[in-house]
């Protein structure tokens, strides 16, 4: 035990002495929280609207004014012909366009259907679809108003009115959503990537052999090398959660103890993965590539952190079941936003626990620092 403590102390000194790496490890969570809190939004901002009106009349002007009056649309240009639209879009000067057909007001006055074309810049498809639905809502409001002005019951056409409640995140702010994913991300960097690289470095530089002749058993060497990162990882996770609470007011509705327990579980999984990768890697670069491909990318892309798992093709959805971060994020979202406890989260927790057990066992077996 005393020898193990000495090794842990030595490894901690290593970590503390390497200021640059330590700086990155400590700054990374802070930067991530700030970037995601301030910069990353998935909601659609103001839409710059171009209006193409070949024959302005009272109706087209009224509808255009209605668009200008809505909080979403800001008119930037009015053109007589649609020819210049492409140019506006390409320069990024407009996001959407409203194209009136000639005789719009006249047809509307006669009670005939009048043609209106809504053009969106759908380079980013979600923005395109959302902008189109905003535009439709404005047009429907315009129709309702005209119908009411005409004084008929016609405005009350059969309708199924959705009454929407956004549960768990009523303001639909993306800042409330990023914390679980960020915790997973930070833990993956610190535990998987760092552990893999440190152990591989020891092999590459040849100091692993020096450790071998010490009275420590291989398991103890691994434990000693991994211990500081367990601490840093845990501190990073707590830091992300605390920062998000203090600066961005992100809710914590469930039990903090449960959340920290799950953090620990996920940390063990990540560390075991790091050890496993380093056992197979001969050099730091191999370890780094392996950790990036095997842990970082799946945590970023296949966990539901940024992109919803439900949207992916089936094979990727199956693959996502093998990504520990997916289960951790589900649990963390449950605790933070829904405020549910183990009675709802036992399945995810069980999966994480099973992963931790299997991976730790594999890691312990795989790590045999031998002379070659």
């Amino acid at each position: 035990m005393r020898t193990l403590r000495a090794l842990v102390w030595k490894e901690s000194l290593h970590v503390l002495r390497d200021r640059r790496t330590l700086g990155v490890l400590l700054l990374l969570p802070v930067f991530q929280v700030l970037i995601f809190g301030y910069a990353i939004r998935t909601d659609v901002g103001t839409v710059r609207l171009a209006v193409v009106d070949p024959a302005p009349d009272a109706a087209t002007r009224a509808l255009a004014a209605r668009f200008a009056g809505s909080p979403t649309f800001a008119p930037v240009a009015t053109l007589p012909v649609p020819d210049g639209l492409d140019r506006l879009f390409r320069r990024g000067a407009a996001d959407a366009a409203l194209v009136f057909a000639p005789g719009f007001g006249e047809r509307l006055g006669r009670g005939e259907p009048a043609d209106l074309l809504v053009v969106t810049d759908a380079t980013e498809p979600n923005t395109g679809a959302t902008v189109a639905s905003y535009a439709l809502a404005v047009v429907q409001g315009f129709e309702r108003e005209r119908a009411a002005a005409a004084g008929g019951v016609g405005g009350g056409a059969a309708g199924l009115v959705p009454r929407v409640r956004l549960r768990f995140n009523p303001t639909a702010e993306s800042k409330n959503l990023f914390v679980p994913g960020l915790v997973a991300f930070v833990l993956t960097i610190v535990s998987s990537l760092m552990t893999a690289i440190t152990l591989a470095r020891e092999k590459e530089v040849g100091t692993m052999e020096t450790l071998l002749v010490s009275p420590l058993r291989p398991g103890q060497i691994v434990a000693g090398k991994v211990a500081p990162y367990l601490l840093i990882g845990f501190a990073g996770a707590v830091g992300v959660i605390a920062l998000a609470q203090l600066v961005f007011d992100v809710p914590l509705r469930g039990s903090l103890v449960l959340l920290l327990g799950e953090v620990l579980l996920f940390l063990l999984v990540s560390l075991a993965l790091g050890v496993l990768i380093s056992a197979r890697a001969k050099s730091q670069r191999v370890a780094m590539t392996g950790a990036l491909l095997g842990t970082m990318l799946p945590t970023l892309m296949l966990s539901g952190f940024i992109f919803p798992v439900e949207s992916m093709p089936r094979p990727l959805q199956w693959l996502s079941h093998a990504v520990p971060a997916k289960w951790f994020i589900a649990v963390a979202r449950g605790v933070l936003l829904k405020g549910v406890g183990l009675d709802h989260l036992w399945q995810e927790t069980l999966v994480l626990a099973a992963m931790a057990l299997v991976l730790l066992a594999l890691a312990a077996r795989s790590f045999r620092p031998r002379l070659e």
Binding site: D18, T123, P125, V139, A158, G159, V161, L177, S283, E310
Partner: protein, 373 residues
């Protein structure tokens, strides 16, 4: 600077890369795998929102709605019952992302007053998934309402109608991959340039082989040029491969002037390599180089509009992001590939990239000189 000496060392560097399976994998295989996986994974387009229907009406209309929901292709009905508690349980356990409540008397009020209220509860903890699911649910309801109105209310006077057609330019099929491929290509080029440049110089430093090169007749600038030249070529090759994969595997449009894209990439790679070179001068070991490079790229890529549109960012972040070269190249790449822009349209971002290249390269070289002194 002697071209022959530079080329000789550059050839040695190329041999290093080709002989070393790891680097070759890093450069050729990883990008393609990334492209193939990322492009499939990086999508906000929603299919199969797991939906629980609380049907308290039990009428023809309510059953019709359940059928419509399932048939729309956007929802997977995970359960139907009259119990609101079961719906709540589905939301809490995460089995359902949407609970649609059809209250008692829905059909009656729809027939009598022409109006009915349908409850939609969305799991907003799922973020975008909720917003998109809400849109699809609303359109299913609107379609159903229209059909019911056509069946029952034929006697009502027609209201003045506006026939709205929607056209989605540049991406009529709303295919997310067409949006992501140009962005991911930029990320690949950036990774190859910055990470490899930082790593290769830091590696020579760590192993002590940089010292050995110092006693050769090579000048410092020649050394830098020789180390970066092969990486620059690799970056361009990666872009070409990436474009080919994007075209063949995802049918991504290549609408604009490709010469503008490659010219911009040539300039942008200088920026990426200079940043990597700069990083290599502030670190001692490969490990530090990887971490600093990783950290810098992380901030750059997240603030570039690669994953989420710049327009949606807070206004001051948008201003800050103008100092980010990645932002300009991501924008240019999408302008050219998706919007079909030519030289005239992208002249501004191209000029900005040139300025970035000049500034970052000067800074990196000054830093290399200072360190050598």
């Amino acid at each position: 600077m002697r071209a022959r000496r530079v080329l000789a060392l550059a050839r040695a560097e190329v041999l290093h890369v080709v002989r070393d399976r790891v680097t070759l994998g890093q450069v050729l295989v990883v990008p393609i795998v990334q492209l193939l996986v990322l492009v499939h994974a990086a999508t906000f387009v929603l299919r199969d929102t797991p939906t629980y229907v609380v049907d308290q009406d039990g009428s023809r209309v309510s059953r019709g709605l359940v059928g419509r929901l399932a048939a729309s292709g956007h929802f997977e009905v995970v359960g139907v019952s009259a119990s609101a508690g079961a719906g709540e349980e589905g939301l809490l356990s995460g089995e359902a992302a949407l609970v649609m409540t059809l209250p008692p008397g829905l059909e009656r009020s729809l027939v009598r007053d022409g109006r009915g209220v349908v409850g939609l509860q969305l799991d907003a903890a799922r973020g975008t998934a909720a917003a998109v699911g809400r849109g699809y649910a609303a359109s299913v309801l609107a379609d159903a309402a229209r059909e019911i109105a056509a069946e029952t209310g034929g006697d009502r006077p027609a209201a003045p109608r506006i026939d709205v057609r929607v056209r989605h330019w540049y991406n009529p099929g709303l295919d997310y991959r067409h949006y992501m491929v140009p962005g991911i290509l930029v990320a690949l080029v950036t990774l190859v340039g910055t990470v490899l440049a930082a790593q290769s110089v830091a590696r020579e430093n760590e192993l002590g082989t940089l010292e050995q090169l110092r006693v050769t007749p090579l000048a410092r600038s020649e050394l830098v040029a020789a180390k970066l030249l092969p990486l620059w070529v690799l970056g361009m090759v990666d872009l070409g491969i990436g474009l080919a994969v994007g075209k063949l595997a995802f049918d991504v449009p290549l609408r604009g002037d490709l010469s503008a894209l490659f010219a911009a990439a040539a300039v942008y790679l200088v920026v990426a390599l200079a940043i990597g070179l700069f990083i290599s001068t502030v670190v001692d070991t490969q490990q530090q180089a990887m971490f600093v490079a990783f950290f810098v790229l992380n901030v750059y890529l997240l603030l570039s509009g690669l994953l989420t549109p710049i327009d949606a960012m807070a206004p001051w972040v948008e201003v800050v992001s103008r100092a980010n070269p990645v932002r300009w190249f991501v924008g240019l790449s999408r302008d050219v590939l998706v919007r079909g822009a030519g030289w005239a349209d992208v002249a501004q971002p191209f000029a900005i990239l040139c300025v970035f290249a000049a500034v970052t390269l000067t800074l990196a070289i000054l830093r290399v000189r200072k360190r050598a002194a």
